[in-house]
Amino acid sequence: MSKAPFMPPQGSSFAGQVDLLYLFLVGISLFFSLLIAGLIVYLAVRYKRRSPRDIGVPIHGSGVLEIAWSVIPLVIMLGSFVWGTMLFFHLSRPPADAVEYFAVGKQWMWKFQHPDGTREINTLHLPVGQPVKVTLTSEDVIHDLFVPAFRVKMDVLPARYSTIWFEPVRVGTYHLFCAEYCGAEHSRMGGWIVVQEPEDYERWLAGERGQENRLASPEDLFKRFACESCHRTDSVARAPQLAGLFGKQVRFKDGSAIVADDNYILESILKPNEKIVAGYQPIMPTFQGQMSQEEALALVRYVRGLEAGK
């Protein structure tokens, strides 16, 4: 069905599941609200005071009823909790084949970047049927990428990465809002997600490629910032090996260790001395303020792509 009343169109693969959970919970709420309202009206009228002096029967309670109306609601709620949590984890784990896009929230506009570097402001063109992972960051305050039609929403934090994923399943143009208050033009910080057939998307992308607003390729960024002068593949390198770093465990000088992810790589570029890799000296200069968010994002993606041994 294209669009149910009072519900946004189901634009993504899991929109239907969210709506199903919503309708289930609306049904439960309607049932209990009508039950309580009906009971109140019936009991109030049935036991209306007949003469000014008569009093109610002093009933003090019943254990059975108390257990019934605490266990039954709890069971229903735990059921909706389990269903909700499974759906939430499905929403939190992007599939492996998701194509990665980037979105940067900046006071009162959205900057999108396609995998091949094409950039857009406030609008994002996407091919239908292709799972998409959007890596989000903000340049100033907290924003929130909210696409009602896809039933997705995620806060966009400064100096940190967050990710959402969805798979557009229906061609169309859908609202995009900022759902975390971010200042004066918060109401106008929105735009459109344009989902097209794959051919139209490619044609649109080709048209865009003609223009010059492409980003320098990650390889020459790696050279321009002289990363390769230290991070060399030969043994005399004075800096940790980057190839195959992504997803590997990194041990630090103070004994702690974490799994290298986007945040760690970005942090090592902008704030290198925060975590010193065991066996190395804190000699890496900070690049904070010398490169734009997009360039940092491109470098992070480049380092992630470096396979061991290349």
């Binding site: 939190s92 784990r93 992007p94 492996a96 998701a98 990665e100 992972k133 990710t163 992504f246 997803g247 004994g255 974490i258 799994v259 290298a260 992810d261 986007d262």
Partner: protein
């Protein structure tokens, strides 16, 4: 209303001094993660001594004991649940891996 003998106060005072000197000494030893645990345990013991004997919690009503316990319990709720967010952020594994 309970009046403690001076001897009790003197003993607790001595214990607190010993606690302080120990925690400073231990801080300079290489105990890895145990450094923090030892420092915290000594601090908690010193606090319990002060609360029980100097503040007379030991001799006051059950209600006062509950009030004291609930205070520190709520502080632990705040710290534990907030840390639960920070310490489990990395668990989801690397997105896309």
């Amino acid at each position: 209303m309970h009046i403690s003998p001076l001897r009790v106060y003197a003993l607790v005072f001595a214990a607190l001094l010993v606690g302080t000197l120990t925690t400073v000494a231990v801080a300079f030893q290489h105990l890895g993660p145990f450094n923090d645990i030892v420092a915290l345990t000594i601090a908690v013991t010193k606090m319990t001594l002060v609360v029980l004997f100097f503040m007379h919690a030991k001799y006051s009503t059950r209600l006062t004991k509950i009030v004291v316990a609930s205070g520190f319990a709520w502080l632990l709720f705040l710290i534990a649940f907030t840390l639960s967010d920070y310490l489990t952020r990395g668990w989801l594994g690397v997105p896309g891996k």
